[in-house]
Amino acid sequence: MPNELIEESTSKDYLTIVIEDQTFGIPVLQVQDVLREQKVTKIPLASREVAGSLNLRGRIVTAIDVRRRLGLGDRNDNEASMSVVVEHKGELFSLIIDSVGDVLSLENSNFEKNPGTLEQTWKDISSGIFQLENNLLVVVDVPSLLENISNSKK
């Protein structure tokens, strides 16, 4: 995937999101919507990562708790959350994250592979890393973020 990006243009836009102070980036073209906190219907018996489902303009969207997906602790009740809606295989998913930042245009040349020491779960969902001025941005690979949920039963 990174290769084809490189071929197309020298830079790419990423929507930055923050989860527990860590900055992530989602390729902006994959983002359909950014939502405030939504009323989510729980889905009993589903994997832990599945927060539930919600109604987005008449379509049913499956909400994914990215914190849980990343093996991070649950959000406190008083902490706000937002979600980013992405499409995967014809279905909509709402990725619940802490907050959404700016859209950054990042040079492909700055893209680096995941460091070998990165935790496996993170390696699984990330295609690589960008060095920003103050911090590092983990690029989220949406398909692998979603794909493995169905397999990882609780």
Binding site: K39, K42, I43, P44, L45, V50, N55, G58, T62, E91
Partner: protein, 980 residues
Amino acid sequence: MDDLIIDFITETNESIEELDADLVNLEKNPNDKDLLGKIFRLMHTIKGTCGFLSLPRLEKVAHHAENVLGRFRDGDLEVTAGYVTLIFESIDQIKFIVAEIEETGGEPEGGDAALIAKLDAAYEGKDVSGDASAVGESTSLGDVSGEKDIVVNIQEKSLAPGEASIDELEAAFAAAPGMDGIVNSADSKEKDIVVNIQEKSLAPGEASMDELEAAFAAAPGMDGIVNPADLNKKDPVNPKKKKEVKKPKSKKEKTDKPKAKKAPAKTLRVAVDVLEDLMTMVSELVLTRNQLLQIVRTQGDTEFSTPLQRLSHVVSELQEGVMATRMQPIGNAWSKLPRIIRDLSIELDKKIELVMTGQETELDRQVLELIQDPLTHMVRNSGDHGIETPADRVEAGKSETGTISLDAFHEGGHIIIRISDDGKGLPEDKIRSKILENGLATEEEIGEMSSQQIQQFIFHAGLSTAEKVTAVSGRGVGMDVVRTNIEKIGGSIDLRSTEGKGSTFTIKIPLTLAIVSALIVEAENERFAIPQLSVRELVMISDHGDNRIEYIKGSPLFRLRDRLLPLVSLGSILGLSDKNAFDQVSKLTKENDESESETESETEGNAFDHKNLYLVIAQVGGYDFGIIVDRVFDTEEIVVKPVAQMLKDLTLFSGNTILGDGSVIMILDPNGIANATGNIAAVDDPESKKNSDGIKADSEKKTSLLLFKVGGDTPKAVPLSLVSRLENIKSEDVEYSSGQMTVQYRGTLMPLTPFDPSVKISEGEEKPVLVFSDNGNAMGIVVDEIIDIMEEVIDIKLHATQSGLLGSAIIDGQATDVVDIAHFLKGANKDWFEDGSDTPFISDGDEDEDICPKKLKKRVLFVDDSPFFRNMITPLLSMAGYEVTTLEKPQDAIKMCEDGVEFDVIISDIEMPDMDGFEFAAHIKSEDSKWMDTPLVALSSHATPKDIERGLNVGFNNYVAKFDRDTLLDTLVKTLADAE
């Protein structure tokens, strides 16, 4: 593929379907001219259309079949089963070719020489005498010779496309009435095609075909061919006589049209996809409408209310309209069945009649498509395994012809389809051994199952009971697939079968799949939708009173009108409650239970502050179970949307949807819940329960006892099953007739007996009365106070000395007198036992003899058709220490006899429907019976010397009057002693 060809295929398939049904009818009424004409025309249409589209092989088959049909129609040939089979063969061949064309776009390789030879043989075969005249009348020697050419060609094994082209031509001409000129001019072109085909250079042939098609397209309708005037002419197979097919006659034909089924002007072919899309959009519209309505409801009266109301109406109508476009009569799915049954009956040499009712019942075409295969399969099954051969049927005392009936009707927003046959029913023994073979249950488990439960196993995979695998069924895939398919569309299937009598399958399916009505419930603050289809009823439960949950080792159960339903808590099976809330409830109820048993009816005092729960009684495939939910909201029309891919393996949900308030809600799948609760198949339904009651020994069973008080402190108990009703009788209602206390009860006079002289209904007082009734006789026993109803095993500890009592037992921790109701019945109503004779045939029993042969635990079989007597005598016998098996029908007893079940003594009623006691006795006392040596006691209200003599002659060892309990017990002891 060419549009024209696609249309042709569709049309041909439709025509063939119609043909199938008609030909079966034809076999029944060979002389039905109208029918013959119709079949002929349909064949002809197929043939004619083939001509246009250059499908020589197909056309040839149709043509030859048409020839034969022509003879039938003219009455030259008699329609026999053999001929009909031949026509079926041709249709099958046509179907095969059409299917091939549909798939590949061209006709399959190979020829149909054998079939055509047969058809020609049929055409000529029976015709030796009438041949000359037929040829003469047909005025077209050329035609006949053409036929002969073909035959010759076949013999030479050359396919002779050239000859076929004559047929093509004929078809083409016939199909183009009034276009003689054009056809003639096209004649040469037609021949070109022939040449081209022979040369196998298709391209130019096709081109010229197109031209032809264009020319023919201008022909004014194909009506000409179906000219009824033709029927009377003597040469139906000579389309060259074009002059007959003239316009004036077409008019005539039009007047005849109402008879014909087709009304093409009024219908329009619409692609299914378009309808599907439309339906989806309407579904969305309905949802949005619901949402809007919900909003307006909270807003009160706004300016939106009125237009929204109108919008709502329009949407409803639109929904109905679109639904209507998808509705098709179920008869469409059945059209193939007569043919299947016909083929089956010939193949298996059975006589089967298929009776269909309710064909016009409409349902969604999507549903229709999905049930078509299961239905076909089941009807086939009925014909194959259900209906016996004529010989077997006659032997079983049935008519030679078996009947399979198909019935469809609406019931409460669902469609019920019933498939029943009067065949041999499900072979329980075979199912049993199959179950063991496949390790689906252990022998012990099977032993405990009712026949209903055993029968349900046919829905398991790999359980075909057909002894031999026929082409028709018995391949081990079958009912499980049927069930899965039906459940997939939210339906359910139920089965009732009586060995020897037949089986009935009942399928319940929703009208449509797109929009379903669902009950919204709440568990642990989460809402869920349950499809209304599987909801039987709702019950509010509280932890005290009648509607309470009971527990057996923590498993919640609920008694619903004498039926025990297993319960599941929605919260806990969904893993929402972490068992806490549920356990709390169960703890509460348990506490209540305990307190109840310690100090009666003190539960009210335990005023735990706990919410009321609701039970959703759901039914899946004939089995009922309860789902415990916290709250029940209303029902809502929902549009089922599939769940996301990653949630697919959650079997408890069948989909999700958006409610009127905009929130997403999961739709529960009752089948999934049933599966999640374990073997729901182990639960009885009332009918099977009755059966198992009949078969099981009753002695160890708990009996429901009605406890009441009379005078003193010792409570009295009487089996609840004997008591018909409890009434409160006021003193002013009591009348006296010849010293007997009576009361007007339900239009008759009911005698009242005080339980003992101490019970009196004083002036202005009201007393409870136990009403006993059987066969229109009723009597009441006046008591002082009704205490409670208990379930206990009656174990008489002390035998009574006082008349009217059986003895004392410990019930609910207290010594209780068990009442002998027979004593009262006898006293109150001489007519109760019809002849009232108090002198039993053998009554020389010693009163002091121990009537309780407890240690021996003799096994007694008691056969009586009257539930009242079964209920009365059974406890009596079991209290006397016998192990009692009660049966309603002597036939069941004979079955047990055949199964090798053993008893020490058999007691049988004499007056029974179907088979009386004498017959029964004759049966089991016959030479080869396993019960030949088992003593048999007649228990009857008929005790005239003549009856007694007859009884003894047929093998009864003793004869006892029905009401005389002491004599009965004595007789039993004596009989058993004699037998030893």
